[in-house]
């Protein structure tokens, strides 16, 4: 993900008002222009230096520990993993800790965008150090009290213990003194073998709230005096309101107002008509009575057919080179053993189970929002900039997210709610119906890949991928369209670049008015299919076993360990000739994933997926059960995009509106999934997304292995293979 929002500057420290003055609060802050890890600081020091504190940990006089989770919880488990990391070094029992969501504030918390599988990999070192620093200060405070050396003491389960005498002091009694202790310049972090919490499949603390209906998602949030709104938006994304007859809608009892609203979406505005009422049901009914004429001139009304025709034609263009090595053209042209193939992937909707919604309350130059939000700090600065109000006047409150997958990182729906609230001078919840959510985008962009390559002596001699697809970063007004897409090779295992002597990755940005956006694993979600299908075709052309072929092209211990594990779990060498097996290996957000799929034909002759094996090397990790759940979920989501659903466009509008025409995989369609997580000491990689890209190519490679038929276009129906 390339969007950044770093506007970090020093500001006057504002008293941490929500925290008791008797509390010991420690966190780290991001000094101006800091990159990566901020400095660790206490509330008291922050006050003296006039900087704002990132309150990660607060311990009050009663010994109650409050940990702040600075990332969104949308199912991926940050609600559990972030505190699990801090509590490890702080030496507290996770059951004795309160966990709260941090409000949106990049100055306090650094980037809070929950995307790019970045929660753990982006902040774990700082989290560990903050927990350890707090622990050392508590130990120092106890040692001073006992008049002994800190080295004679240790911490466990929320207490400092003097080793020889067995004297104990609870953290709560030490907070006042600990807050005055100097912050250790260096802390010794635990070794992995000494971890009590990290590495264990501890139960998620959010789950009991999700089994009795108590978890509050955005759609469940209610604010006193809140009105409800639904919006009829232009179905062709960029059209203008030509005429509006709202008389019937306004006449419905309970309707408060009908307002025009123009929601910013990248470089244009999405016009719509909002019906505001005293209940959601009333607003939904009144919306049906609106009579709107749209002016849809001045932009293209695309169909899927036309869009993909354009992408296929674009492959004839040279493209914008992102990454190259050796000389592709020379070696490809001179080769007698050439491959020249095209792969296609579809547009997709995110279709989070919780449709988009947001509550906004604008009061003068202040604004408060509540909702399912992936990037609270982005929402805060977006509202501040657009309303031209100071950033500290914008409060972004987090709820649980009923799914995110990239869609809820975008700030269109939040600002639309702000505009409606401003007009109504009241708190308003804007709710998107399933149809709104599924047809309005932004969508995952589809892509067409032109892959060329040659084989020499059983190895890849030349390799080129040209991607024709909309560039997600070129949607803003005035975007530089001469710049290559930095994610063109995203998903390709890094070690391939070392073994392939001549390669080139380039993209041709597709012109289209359809808004597009990150979708779980972003470009890798489609790139992986082209890359690992093509590698498989090259292995076949080289007359090599597909696993051996990858092994010989992926030098480096981490890749070899993943391949060893896949070989073992599939019993690769002794697999039955009657089974169809396919493998794929991808690298996404610093995590290597190898997947193997086994297919067979059932008694009726229909293709069935018997088993999926996933091996993940995500380096340093926190909670293996959460990782397993994320791998299972990624595979199910990949299965849907490969074999079940696709968003089509006709006359400039999205065709699929609800789950009847955009179906989802169901429980009876899910294969057995076996997961293995590699243990090593490497830096943490992502977890929530990287298991998605390898599934579709592994599946299609398995189908080829069983039937000899290559599938180069997604989605396809298993029943039709």
């Amino acid at each position: 993900m390339s969007l950044t929002n770093k506007n970090i500057s020093r500001r006057k420290f504002v008293t941490v008002s929500s925290l008791s003055s008797m509390a010991f609060t420690i966190g780290f802050y991001f000094p101006a222009a800091s990159k990566g890890i901020g400095e660790i600081i206490t509330a008291q020091n922050a006050d003296e230096k006039g900087i704002e504190l990132s309150a990660w940990i607060s311990i009050d006089a009663a010994g109650i520990v409050t940990l702040l989770n600075h990332r969104s919880e949308m199912g991926q488990g940050s609600f559990q993993t972030v505190p699990q990391i801090i509590a490890e070094e702080l030496e507290v029992d996770l059951d004795k800790v309160k966990i709260t969501f941090a409000p949106g504030n990049s100055k306090k918390f650094g980037s809070q965008i929950t995307g790019g599988s970045s929660t753990v990999r982006g902040s774990y070192k700082a989290l560990l150090q903050t927990g350890a620093a707090a622990r050392e200060m508590l130990i120092a405070a106890a040692a001073k009290n006992w008049n002994v050396a800190p080295t004679e003491c240790y911490a466990a389960l929320g207490m400092v213990i003097h080793r020889s005498s067995g004297k104990k002091l609870g953290y709560g009694t030490l907070v006042a003194a600990a807050a005055k202790m100097p912050i250790p310049k260096q802390v010794v972090l635990k070794e992995r073998k000494d971890y009590k919490l990290i590495g264990n499949p501890l139960q998620r603390q959010d789950i009991p709230l999700k089994t009795n209906g108590k978890a509050i998602f955005g759609l469940d949030k209610k604010i006193p005096g809140m009105l409800y709104a639904v919006v009829e938006r232009n179905p062709r994304f960029q059209g203008k309101i030509k005429s509006l007859d709202d008389s019937a809608a306004k006449a419905m009892p309970g309707v408060k107002q009908v307002v025009k609203v123009a929601m910013p979406v990248f470089g244009f505005t999405r016009e719509g008509v909002a019906v505001v009422a005293d209940s959601l049901w009333t607003a939904m009914q009144a919306r049906k009575l609106l009579k709107i004429e749209w002016d849809d001139e001045g932009f293209e009304h695309l169909s899927t057919e036309k869009l993909y025709g354009r992408m296929r034609e674009d492959l004839n263009k040279p493209g914008l080179t992102q990454r190259k090595g050796g000389n592709f053209d020379a070696h490809f042209q001179n080769s007698a053993n050439q491959l020249d193939l095209v792969y296609e992937t579809p547009y997709e909707s995110h279709s989070c189970m919780e449709p988009l919604n947001c509550i906004a309350h604008v009061q003068g130059d202040h604004c408060e929002v509540w909702g399912p939000i992936q990037g609270p700090d982005w929402v805060q600065s977006d509202i501040s900039q657009r309303l031209k109000i100071p950033i500290e006047n914008v409060t972004v409150n987090m709820t649980f997210l009923g799914g995110g997958f990239g869609r809820k990182a975008f700030t269109d729906y939040t600002f639309e709610a702000v505009l409606i609230s401003k007009e109504m001078k009241a708190p308003v919840q804007v709710v998107w119906t399933r149809e709104d959510d599924m047809t309005q985008g932004p969508f995952r962009p589809g892509a067409v890949y032109g892959c060329k390559g040659s084989i020499q002596n059983g190895a890849i001699e030349s390799f080129q991928v040209k991607m024709a697809a909309q560039n997600m970063d070129q949607q803003a007004a005035g975007a530089d369209k001469t710049k290559f897409n930095g994610s063109t090779s995203e998903g390709f295992a890094e070690a391939y670049f070392k073994s392939i002597p001549n390669y080139r990755f380039a993209d041709i940005p597709t012109e289209s008015p359809i808004p597009v956006m990150w979708w779980r694993s972003v470009y890798s979600s489609t790139n992986g299919f082209a890359f690992e299908s093509f590698i498989d075709e090259m292995a076949h052309a080289a007359k090599k076993d597909p696993l051996d072929f990858r092994r010989s092209h992926l030098a480096g211990k981490r890749y070899q360990v993943v391949l060893d594990q896949l070989e073992k779990m599939t019993n690769w060498k002794n697999r039955s000739k009657n089974d169809g097996w396919g493998i794929a290996i991808t690298e996404c957000f610093k995590t290597i994933v190898g997947e193997a799929v086994k297919v067979s034909k059932n008694a009726e002759g229909k293709m069935v997926i018997d088993k999926v094996i996933a091996v993940m090397d995500c380096g340093w990790y926190v909670n293996p059960d959460i990782i397993q759940a994320q791998i299972e979920g990624s595979i199910v989501m990949a299965l849907g995009a490969a074999t079940v659903h696709e968003t089509h466009f006709e006359d400039g509008k999205a065709v699929e509106k609800n789950f009847n025409t955009y179906p989802m995989p169901r429980i009876n369609e899910i294969p057995a999934i076996e997961v293995h997580i590699i243990d090593n000491q490497e830096n943490a990689g992502g977890v929530g997304e990287p298991a998605l890209p390898a599934f579709a190519p592994a599946l299609c490679n398995a189908i080829f292995n069983l039937t000899g038929k290559r599938i180069r276009k997604l989605p396809f129906k298993l029943s039709e293979v």
Binding site: M74, G75, Q76, G77, P201, Q203, R204, D206, I207, P208, L209, K210, T211, N212, G213, K214, A215, I216, F217, L219, D220, P253, S279, L280, W281, T282, Q285, S351, C352, M353, E354, P355, F400, L401, G402, G403, G404, F405, T433, R434, D625, A629, Q630, E632, G633, S634, I635, V636, M637, N658, F659, N660, M664, P665, R666, I667, N668, I670, A672, I673
Partner: protein, 161 residues
């Protein structure tokens, strides 16, 4: 607007509603029980599943006028404190991810176990394939239904695990 008596989780709620208002919105916005979720509005996803006289129904597609004075059970009525075997199994198997669809899955599973105390994989498929989980928790849903069935038949043995 008409006044209806809704019997939800053994409590009576007197609500003023348009007769065509789906039960879903009456539960969420008039009885203020937000555990039941809106997912599609056309009975495709099952996030809004509740029990009507013990039978699972899609509350998004049942008008409030059709269910007055009948026995409605929502997720909050399964148990508020997670004591129902299915809720315990859901926690044990760590089923939910985002959690949004899980109320519906739990209500559908509760109706299944009442009808078939030890469902086979095929019976689980039949009872649960009308529901969608976008996070893909299906393998764990299947496992948790079986765990709950065990808990109900052999409560002591499971607790000792």
């Amino acid at each position: 607007m008409t006044t209806y008596n809704l019997n939800i989780n053994g409590k009576n709620f007197s609500v003023q509603a348009d007769p065509k208002m789906p039960l879903l919105w009456a539960i969420r916005d008039l009885a203020n029980l937000t555990g039941t979720k809106y997912g599609c509005g056309i009975a495709q996803c099952g996030a809004c599943t509740v029990h009507l006289n013990g039978t699972p129904v899609r509350s998004c597609s049942v008008p409030v006028s059709a269910v007055a004075n009948q026995k409605i059970t929502t997720i909050e009525g399964l148990s508020e404190d997670n004591t129902h075997a299915l809720q315990q199994a859901w926690i044990k198997e760590q089923v939910p991810q985002c959690g949004y669809c899980q109320s519906g899955h739990l209500m559908a599973a509760a109706a299944l176990l009442k009808r078939i105390p030890h469902p086979t994989d095929k019976e689980i498929d039949t009872a649960m394939q009308g529901l969608i989980c976008r996070c893909g928790t299906y393998p764990r849903i299947r496992k948790a239904i079986k765990t709950a069935a065990e808990m109900i038949s052999k409560p002591v043995a499971v607790n000792q695990k």
